[in-house]
Subunit: 345 residues, 2 copies
DNA sequence: TTGTATGCGTTATCAA
DNA sequence: TTGATAACGCATACAA
């Protein structure tokens, strides 16, 4: 857009100094005497001058801004992570842009390229928005742009990876149900194809569930494992499917809260009591989980910690002004999800 | 970040032509013979060349990208609008960045400046994230950058404004409750200070409620009007306050769904039945409203339409390549919210 | 048809 | 201390 510009040149003319002097006071580089500094600052104010960030970026080859790619803005799990991440970044005086790929991986890949082409200083990938192929390609092409992946294990050395040990958490959750005496524990899993299928936690959660059943010498029945999409409606559909079974489950473990909420709706529709008829366990601990009734027992993902850790990695790298691979920072970090007992179990 | 660059120059050298030829094939301007075009394209591929968008922006003075500012990413109402907006923009081959001001108006203002300084091609403000003062200042300073405001009436001529007639909707909703025989209808309003207080719908909703009561010759009691923050917890707190009244309300109209959900939790805590003991009406129709139990009766904000309309205004302006004030487009557009009867009333 | 030269708004180097 | 001036990577008017 054709911007009416008041450039550094105008400021220089107005204050009767050269542009390099103006630049010096703007960036606090070099020493400028108080009086000229005042003159320049007044000129800046009078003209309402603001440095053109695009020109700055072109010259400095850094933008002071980061990109965040998320696959589904409608899932509170993501927005809760993003909120923490952005806030922490802002405290470090860095801006961030959010890209929502809206569950379409082609968009995620395009966004990823777009970010890189705009020379953002770093990028955070949450869950499985961007394909491994693209990340691999660009991490090689732009080795100096740090990439932080949350809940996605790219198996690319240069990528900072934050994972949650979901297998353990799911094992504990399922064992908890077992110990309470539930015998037919069903699971609503994440999708095996499409968005969400490559998130780190997806398989892990199912594996933890399976291991717990085996450990407890309970049968693992394929009938009791039904696949969802991580979205609410899919939880509802999955629950209906489970209710059609000749012998319905007495407990259901959903791979995320949204699906658990969907399952809750399905149960209420057929007037089954929670937890008396069917117990319900979710995963994520989104804000909503404690608001519904009965309040949802779930596994708390360390969303705030994940977001903040990602921000801190980025901020540290920026402060050290080093290329990612030279950092002393460990590249792989594990977090834990913890059980939050509420009324639905 | 020090990007290893393969520039247009490298491509030119590799393919044995000049940079202007490369630029010509890249931008499809001018006529380049097939064979040289092929050579250039092969070189681009071999080198993995990608145009530097920052340099492009600096030169072309447009970035092909838009900024979206939102005050609370955790409120699904916003993300539902944003999703529709982004998708439509993408279909028009435009990118957009989301800024979440996280309910802090200072951040919103800073983000707004940041966007403008980065010469994004336009900006969408949702609800009341950015202050009027800042918008006024910059709309004057950058008259060529279109600004679209959703549910916020800035009273600045150049701003495209999309509003929903909430007074009418709230009137209808309240009248609906009256007609069903409810006599003590309470209202949980939006905040009179802080984030949300300047959103267009806030006062409107309360006014529609008041007018409906007056029309029905029902008393308007200040005790029955309690203020929330548009967040879930505030709805819970407000409901508790209402329940402490000597005579409790038989219906509650919350100014948004999130607060209605909070109120629902409060009611369940004290084992009051919905709608038998207390009926509940929300506003927004977020996805969740239909999932809770009882399903929430609410007023459907035209979120998709609002987002898409904003995108279309921007796309149209970009296509016409005209400055905003010369557009034939009407600058103020009203939408309607419609009643969605469900089980909670 | 292709190449050269200039400028977009900054920052940074180096003389003065 | 301050001021020219050369990049940054690209697009484009104009020349060849």
């Amino acid at each position: 857009m054709l911007t009416v510009k008041t450039t550094i040149k105008d400021v220089a003319k107005q204050s009767g100094v050269s542009i390099s002097t103006v630049s010096a006071v703007l960036n606090a580089t070099g020493w400028v005497p108080e009086d000229t500094k005042d003159r320049v600052e007044r000129a800046i104010n009078d003209l309402g001058y603001r440095p053109n960030r695009i020109a700055q970026s072109l010259k400095k080859r850094r933008s002071n801004a980061y990109g965040i790619i998320v696959s589904d803005l409608l899932n509170p799990y993501f927005t809760e992570i993003v909120s923490a991440l952005q806030l922490r970044l802002l405290e470090g005086d860095k801006y961030s842009f959010i890209f929502n790929s809206d569950r379409r991986s082609d968009l995620a890949d395009k966004s990823f390229e777009f970010i890189l082409d705009r020379q953002l200083d770093g990028i955070v990938l949450i869950s499985d928005s961007v394909s491994e192929k693209i990340v691999r390609k660009y991490s090689k092409k732009y080795p100096e742009v740090p990439i932080v992946a949350i809940e996605r294990d790219y198996d690319i050395d240069s990528v900072y990876t934050l994972l949650v040990d979901s297998e353990k958490a799911a094992f504990e959750a399922t064992t908890y149900l077992v110990n309470l005496g539930y015998k037919r524990i069903a699971m609503i899993t994440g999708p095996s194809v499409g968005v969400g299928s490559s998130s780190y936690g997806r398989l892990q959660r199912t594996e933890g569930y399976t291991r717990a059943l085996k450990t407890a010498k309970l049968p693992v029945s394929m009938d009791l494992i039904v696949e969802g999409t991580f979205r609410m409606e899919s939880g509802e559909a999955a629950m209906h499917k489970l209710l059609c079974l000749p012998k319905r489950p007495d407990a259901v473990f959903a791979a995320n809260d949204l699906m658990a909420l969907g399952a809750m709706k399905a149960l209420k529709q057929v007037h089954l009591r929670i937890p008396d008829d069917v117990a319900l366990m979710g995963y994520d601990d989104i804000a909503l989980a404690s608001m519904v009734s009965p309040a949802l027992t779930t596994l708390a993902m360390p969303k705030k910690e994940l977001g903040e850790k990602a921000a801190e990695i980025l901020l540290k790298l920026a402060a050290e002004d080093i290329v990612p691979h030279d950092s002393s920072e460990k590249r792989l970090k594990f977090f834990n999800a913890s059980l939050v007992p509420r009324d639905s179990v």
